[in-house]
Structures are given as structure tokens and as C-alpha cells.
Symmetry: C2
Subunit: 406 residues, 2 copies
């Protein structure tokens, strides 16, 4: 076999641990004798057509370890979703540099890019090995128990709702927190792990896996508010009516779409504000507050799951091992093997490419506004060690004296 010439890139939305996977590939490649070069492409596939490469052989292992612990894509990212012509350009550049291994760290769009690329390379008889390394906070890749990046984002969401619940308990009212996730509700569902005491919020959870009916929503909020005097609500940005129309877009005056035709859901507070206005005007509750977690949930510096860090590193290392040990393209998948441990497998690219996993029915409560115990068991080990805990005063109430005295 000819010597290995490796290119790595990062695509799509960044995560807290995406650099772990990058560094996993780079450090593992250093231990392989027939590796000639390891390049990184700036800004995903965009950096390939621009021939914008970094020579990662120049990186010290110490700096790589520091970069691994830095959130967001160190190589830069892109939202480009290459068509056939774009993929042909990519192949031209790879041929110029005699690159024969391409590792792409990304979500379903990135795996689909690799699928197209691998077919085109085969057609041209260009010996290119394409390995997809999973990453997405949405946790929406099929064939995976979960995806790197999701556990840390889930931890942020759980910690955020733990705090929001305590804040709401001290100054009661209604609180709406809007969480990322266009089609898959996993990240919104993670809010359930904020609860400790039986009356803790979130009291209601709205997922894109279930149709959103405004009247039902208002009735749910009213019931909780009457029972507890307060209500904490987790809402996915992707909630939609029965026709599939996003609730966010029902009110947005100008709708921004990305290159994939998707409505922009994050980066504005419209959905939270809409829901708060409905609650104020229809239920006549005065203190109603809404937060859109926005970019904080995927890029907050200093909220990371150690399990996620370890696994994101391992999928990178395994990707390199699979490339060396197996003679085909593929995507590295995480399989749960114990409670809690995982194995990694190399699956065919078209198992995940362009497909979207959503929450399985057994993870969603019959009410449609909560998760099941199975979801708790699924997510709990992923959040990692050192989760903050909350405690309450337990002292008894003092007998009233004023009326007696007065």
C-alpha cells in the first residue's frame, strides 16, 4: 500500500468537544508508521476547495491537548453542503496533494458529503478513504447510541434548568426556556434531568416529536400554575403544528432560510417571546419570563461532560484505527455496551448519511409533555461527573403569633 496522506476537517455547528475528535485523529496518526502527512482544512469542505490547509505535523502534542479542551471547531467550520460539482473540485484538490484519507467530523450533512465524495472518487478510480466522525449536539444520527457533543450540551441544558427552577421558585411566575433541536427533542428532553425534588421544574416539556397545539399548551400551563403557583417550561425551538409548520415561523415577519432551505430557528428570541405573550394575555399571569438558550448551549466555555470528552477523543482515535485496519469507507458509531460503557463500530456511510434520528417513543411520556424513566436512564451516565446538586432548607414553620397577640 502507498503511504497514508491524511486530511481532517470539521463541519456544521461546533460543540464543546469537537476538538477532542480532531486531536484523537492527529495523535493516533503519529503512532502509525506509513502516515506521510496530516493536514487540517480550514472551515470544513470550504477550506478544501480553497486549498486552505494547515500542516498539523507542526503541532506539539502539548498544544494539541490544550486545543482538545477548547470548545468550538479549532479548524473553523462551514454550513456548505457540497453538490456533485463541489465534490469534484474537492477531489481535484485532494489529488493535487495526493491525499488518500479524508476524515470529516460532523453531523448528517457531513456524512452525506462523504457519501457523495466516496462515490465520485470510486467513479474516478481515485483511491480515497472517507471516514465520518460523528458530532452533533442534536443527537440525531441514526445507528448511534448518542453522538459526541450531545452530552455536554445536554449537561448545559440540565444545569440551566436546575438554576432556572431555583430562580423561579424564589420569585414565582412562569418561565419558558427555548432549547435547540430542529427535529430531534433529545436536547430539550435533557431539561428533565434538572429535577431533584418532586415539585421541581421543568414541569412541562414540549418536543418536536409531538405536534404542538397552542390551546393544549395554555391548558397545561394553567393546570401547573394553579397547582404550584409557578411553572417552568422547556420548549424545543423545533415545535410545529400538525401540518409540520414551525411555531416560530408562524409569527416571524421575515423568515431567514439557510442554504439547505431550513428556517433559521436559533439566534433570535421570537418563539420564547410569542409563547410568553400568549401566556400573559390568555392566562392573565403577570410574571412571565422567557429565555432562548441560543448559542450558549453549544459553546459555553466551562460546561462539559467528562464522558463526552473521553468519547469524542475515542471516536477520533477509532476513526484512524479503522482506516488503518479496515479497507473501506464508513462512519464511526457509538454503541452502548454496559451501564455505563461503549464500543465503537465502523458502519457504512449510508446508514447515517442524510438521515435524521428523532426520540424513540419509549423515551417520551404518554402525556407528551415529559420524558420517561427510560430517558433518565439513557441520559444520566452521559452527563458525566461533578453535576451540581441542589439542597433546600428543611426547618419547620414557626407558629403565627400576631393574631393571638393583636
Amino acid at each position: 500500500m502507498q503511504s497514508r496522506r491524511i486530511l481532517i476537517a470539521q463541519g456544521g455547528g461546533p460543540t464543546a468537544v469537537i476538538n477532542q475528535s480532531l486531536v484523537g485523529v492527529v495523535l493516533a496518526a503519529r503512532g502509525v508508521r506509513d502516515v506521510d502527512l496530516v493536514y487540517g482544512a480550514r472551515n470544513g469542505v470550504r477550506g478544501i476547495v480553497n486549498e486552505d490547509f494547515l500542516d498539523l505535523a507542526q503541532e506539539t502534542s502539548h498544544n494539541l491537548e490544550l486545543v482538545a479542551n477548547t470548545p468550538s471547531s479549532a479548524l473553523g467550520s462551514t454550513r456548505d453542503k457540497p453538490d456533485l460539482k463541489y465534490c469534484q473540485e474537492i477531489i481535484q484538490v485532494l489529488q493535487s496533494h495526493q491525499i488518500n484519507h479524508f476524515f470529516y467530523i460532523g453531523g448528517n450533512d457531513s456524512s452525506d458529503t462523504l457519501r457523495i465524495l466516496s462515490l465520485e472518487a470510486e467513479k474516478l478510480a481515485f483511491p480515497l478513504r472517507c471516514i465520518h466522525i460523528p458530532k452533533t449536539i442534536d443527537n440525531d444520527l441514526v445507528g448511534n447510541d448518542h453522538t459526541p457533543g450531545f452530552p455536554s450540551a445536554a449537561r448545559f441544558v440540565a444545569q440551566a434548568f436546575a438554576g432556572a427552577n431555583l430562580d423561579n421558585a424564589s420569585l414565582p411566575g412562569v418561565y419558558v426556556g427555548v432549547v435547540m433541536g430542529r427535529h430531534a427533542g433529545f436536547l430539550t428532553a435533557a431539561s428533565a434531568l434538572a429535577r431533584k425534588f418532586s415539585d421541581d421544574g421543568p414541569h412541562l416539556i414540549y418536543l418536536p416529536e409531538r405536534s404542538f397545539v397552542l390551546e393544549k399548551f395554555l391548558a397545561d400551563v394553567k393546570e401547573v400554575y394553579q397547582r404550584l403557583g409557578r411553572c417552568v417550561i422547556a420548549v424545543s425551538e423545533g415545535i410545529h403544528d400538525e401540518s409540520g409548520t414551525p411555531i416560530a415561523s408562524l409569527l416571524a415577519e421575515t423568515i431567514e432560510r439557510d442554504d439547505h432551505g431550513n428556517v433559521q430557528l436559533s439566534g433570535n428570541g421570537a418563539l420564547a417571546d410569542l409563547l410568553c405573550e400568549e401566556i400573559k394575555s390568555k392566562l392573565h399571569i403577570k410574571r412571565v419570563r422567557g429565555d432562548t438558550f441560543g448559542y450558549l448551549q453549544r459553546s459555553f466555555a466551562g460546561c462539559v461532560s467528562d464522558v463526552d470528552q473521553r468519547e469524542a477523543r475515542e471516536v477520533g482515535e477509532k476513526a484512524l484505527q479503522f482506516a488503518v485496519q479496515k479497507a473501506h469507507n464508513g462512519t464511526v458509531a457509538i454503541k452502548r455496551s454496559g451501564s455505563y460503557s461503549v464500543n465503537y463500530e465502523l458502519m457504512a456511510l449510508d446508514v447515517v448519511a442524510g438521515k435524521t434520528r428523532v426520540m424513540e417513543d419509549e423515551l417520551i411520556a404518554a402525556s407528551g409533555t415529559d420524558v420517561t424513566e427510560a430517558f433518565h436512564q439513557y441520559l444520566r451516565p452521559l452527563l458525566g461527573s461533578g453535576m451540581p446538586d441542589s439542597f433546600r432548607l428543611r426547618a419547620e414553620a414557626v407558629a403565627k403569633l400576631r393574631n393571638k397577640a393583636g
Copy 2:
């Protein structure tokens, strides 16, 4: 002297460390021989007129330590700002229970309540000792180097912008983060401590201490975007035009006001969305995203400054000591005594009551869109230990080959 009967309450917006102060008083009181009882009032002054007390003598010191480390007000809080009649009701209840010490943990409104209460008690010859324990994420109490709660919120803001900057660097565009602070810009200014490399964001910081001019803002953003290809902006929710009208209220269709007549600035995403729309439409930049940090910044579970924890505990303990050692009312103030160490003083209530500190001129850069080195020196030690750090790839670019080859 008669035996001491102590009541503690928490007022205003909760913080990450407000329970440290509560526990500081309670545990210190356990070491004082003539303390008869230690009660906590639920929901601030509201819980006093409702005679809604907990007997804190029943708390184990172990549970108190756990509560101290739990964010948000464990006793509950209130936005009530008592008038004279309300204060007379408070005094009636205190008299019923023969309570002769009242410790109120809160901001300038809470200290003003204590001022009114102490004058009324004096008039009635009711021997009530009123001690104010400072707390506010806004850092707007005069006479204090800084206030407990601010360092942890500032840490959240710095970590949030550190992550948002990395996210923005990987997928370039304009990012607007809106931070709490009606009159004082300290918390927004804390975003400056997110920077490490010279091109790191936030690139622009807008504080309520300076009038906001939309045309100037757009010109500032345009300049940064043309220079760096991206722009990260920190904006205080309290920015206002030259007449003092909040920018947020210029666009809000329905304005909600609290009992103090203040426009509701937090709990909706209107300001961020307004600014993003202006940037998109006037500067024709496509990728513009806005986040409103909202309640996350004051209640996120798991982002706390250890310096803040320690000091919030100490102001509680000192409050109790001052009550025992000094024969007058007052507010506990934090004074910086070294780099970095603090002392505590008991100042007269009217030094802080109802007054608002804003950022001193020497902390704000001449440009009006940044802070000075003096601000960095002021804030850096408050953020505490273990701040996340960020690192970059340092490898050199690879020479382009395609044109040569083609």
C-alpha cells in the same frame, strides 16, 4: 442587654451565592451565647407581614452547608418595596415575636427598606437592630468595592462570551449578546475578560453609562466586520438614547412595568432581535445572531466564583459580628485592601440606601465601546480560580498546489 432574637430574609433577584450569606449569619449566630432564636422569613419582607417564618435552629449545619452551595434564594424572595404602612405591619409582626435583629440580604431597594424600617422602629421606641447584607449581580451598591453575587454572574458572562467568540470564529458572522444591568454596566463589561488573543471578541461593548446612538453602533459594527470578517458584541439591556429612553422600550409594543415603575428589560429577546434586524437590513450582513442571556446569567447551576462564595459567606458572618459588637444599624460593605484581599466595614444605611453606583469613568475606554486596563485589574481577581482557557492551532499554512498542478 436582652437576649437576641434574630430574623433573616432575602430580597430582590437571587444570585449564585446569596445562600452563603444566609448561612454565614445562621452559623455565626450559633456561636453567640445570648442568641435566643434564629428565624428565616419566606419571600423577603412579604413573608414577614404574612408571618411566614422558618425556625432555622432546626437546620443541621451539614444541610446548611449544602444549601449555601445551592444557587438562588433558599428562603424565597420578593420584589415588594414596602411603604410606611407596610413597614408598620412588619414592626407589628416583629414585636409579636419579640424579634430585635433583622438581617436583610439584598440590593439598594432592600437597604432602603431597612432605612425606613429603622426610622420607624426608632419612632416607636422599638429596639430593632437593622443590618443590611449586600447582594446584587448588578454591582451597583455605592460604598462597596463590589457586591456578592456580581463576581459569579460576571464569571458566567465572561465564560459565555469566551464560548460565543470561539463559536463565532468557527462560523463567522455577527453575534450580539444582551447582558443584564439596567443602569450599571459592570456585568456587560465583564464580557471583556473573555478575550485572550488580540482578535478575540467581544469586539464592541455597549454600556448604559454611555448614550447609545444607532448610527454610531452600525458604523462600529461595519468597521469591525470589514476588518475581521466577524464581530462579537456585548450589549447591556439598559442601553438608552440621549434622552434616557431605553432602546428596548423604543420598540416594545407593550411595556411591562414592575411595582417600582421600571420597564421590564429581562425575560424577553426584543432588544437582541431589534439590533440584529438593524444590522441585517442596514449592513446587509447575512449571518447575524442574537442571544439574550436572561436568567441564565444569575441562576445557572454550576458557574460560581470561589472568591464570591467566600466573600458572600463572610459578609453574613461579619453582619452577625457587627450586630454583636457595634450598637447601631448599618450595611456591611466590602473594601478592597490588597491585590487581592478585602476588609469589611459597617457603614450607615443611608450611604447605600436607594442609591445606584454606575461604572466609574476610569473603567470605560475613551471609545465608549470597551473597558480600560483598570477594569481588567479590578475584575480579574473576583472571577476566582479555574477559569476556562482557550487555545488555538499554531501550525503553518500549507503551500497551494492545485494551480501549479492544473
